[in-house]
Amino acid sequence: YAYFNGKPRWAPAKLLTYAINPKHVISYVSSSDIETIFHRAFSRWSAVIPVNFTKARDYSSADIKIGFYKGDHGDGEPFDGVLGVLAHAFSPENGRFHLDAEESWAVDFESDKSKVAVDLDSVATHEIGHLLGLAHSSVKDAVMYPSLSPRTKKVDLQMDDVAGVQALYGSNPNFKFSSLQSENSYNH
């Protein structure tokens, strides 16, 4: 695992709020599906660290601001269309989380047959790692590895991801490494 320079983290970080920009969404995935996916992605991280994520009452006050943007969207890191760069997020305590609106975001590969479909859940889980302070990992199986192939799902936090984020925030008292190991064995 790796951190951004200066090892930034949210402090205090017991409760962080998030919201999806209502003006920058995708129309072909229902808002309830998107909310479910982000809730699930945040839950993966809160299961291992003593940080809770909750949906903000309004977008402007959220700690973490999520949106789907196309091309140049004003942060100096323009998106590039289908595939290429999929998303980016900023280190603590910035909170910006941007996804390329031109990707073919998928919530279910069974129903989405596109060859360029990208798993929203996997990308969300990866970018939340950045929001929490993790940089890219060299471990190929880790969620924080920088690339993700189309039609691939990589959502289960690996030892490397967990060790990295717990070094920043400590461990969730209910988390057991043994549960992670058995889950990973099952995945393999």
Partner: protein, 122 residues
């Protein structure tokens, strides 16, 4: 049984899809080596610069020459992405470069490696 490397599988799975045009063009650099000059190599240098492997040149633009700096960037890239470190644009490296990825740079990091265990004779 030896399972195929997932990164290699990526090539097969995505070879016929409409990749991001700029990155997909990088396949033409396959097997290019130090000293070679291929039109568009400067785009590959921009890629490495964007993701933190090459500094942005101060005075001139990137050239199309596979120079020492590009070789160093390539080696660093292969090392950071746990690819075989060959210093060459081999198929596995080209596959990794053309794969969709996160836009966050790989560079500004503090690397952490697991502490080594030391044995003590008793």
């Amino acid at each position: 049984r030896i399972l195929p490397d997932p990164a290699v599988t990526v090539i097969t799975a995505t070879a016929n899809v409409s990749h991001n045009a700029t990155w997909h063009d990088f396949t033409k650099f396959l097997d290019a080596g130090k000293g070679s000059q291929v039109v568009g190599m400067s785009e590959l240098k921009k890629y490495f610069s964007r993701f933190g492997y090459l500094p942005v040149p101060e005075k001139t633009n990137f050239t199309d020459v596979f120079d020492k700096q590009l070789e160093s960037a390539l080696t660093l890239y292969q090392s950071r992405l746990s690819l075989p470190v060959t210093g060459k644009l081999d198929p596995e490296t080209i596959s990794a470069i053309t794969s969709p990825r996160c836009g966050v740079s790989d560079a500004p990091q503090q690397q952490h490696t697991p502490a080594k265990l030391h044995a003590t004779r008793r």
